[in-house]
């Protein structure tokens, strides 16, 4: 999959996903601790 002509799109999506969860999961967890 990663070596295909669309491998760049795959890497970009994976990089954004990892970046998103690295930022959003701690944010959501902190908000949960604050409200619960």
């Amino acid at each position: 999959m990663l070596g295909s002509p669309h491998g760049a799109s795959t890497w970009i999506t994976l990089a954004w996903s990892i970046g998103a969860i690295a930022i959003l999961a701690p944010l959501a967890t902190a908000q949960y601790r604050k409200v619960a």
Binding site: P5, T10, A28, T29, Y32
Partner: protein, 245 residues
Amino acid sequence: MSLTTAPTLTPSKSNRSSLRWALSDVLTIARRNLLALVRIPTSLVFAVIQPVMFVLLFRYIFGGVIHIPGVDYVNFLIPGILVQTTIFGAVGTAIGLAEDLQRGLIERFRALPMARMAVLGGRTVADLARNVGVVIIITFVGMAVGFRPTGSFVSYIQACLLMLVFAYCISWGFAFVGLAAPNSETAQAMTFPLIFPLTFASSIFVNVPSMPAGCSPLPSTSPSRSAPRRCEGSCSAAPTVPPPG
């Protein structure tokens, strides 16, 4: 009366068991959310009807005036609809958590001896499971309206998995929105400005170069522009669409 000595756990065993306990809690909460979906099937039915309506709308009403060079529009559309549907599914995470918070359910969960991450983890895992079902249904609906992935089956599955991973990661952001909103109605309203650029102002329905300059606020490397194109790549043996942006 006899005294028994409590078994002592080594730190590694203790960590392992607490991790297993946390995973078990996550799965329990996920099961609770999925059961709610099954017991109130109306929400599930409408979660499926909405993307089907988008498929029919863009395939038969707007599709005639949208031309994507080098590719059949339905093969361009369906991967985009799949990404849109999984992003819309993440809105359910925000609304569900806001509802749980409003009804005091999260406070009750908090009082239980369970892992703290279980509530959020369970909600996002349940929404991921729902997204898997919706992706399968939309794939079949797409095929019924002419969608024909000509790449390999394995490549298509990989592309769908990639979309699901992206949707799962995004759902944590919507979980934050749901917890920050005072009620479920506000949570729903708060999600729209977030999903709008990710869906309608991206390459989900049209090719971005056809838009006036600056109309898509997202960079060409954003996932809502790259994910559907990755999926589309699995739908055509030879990619002929110019890269968006």
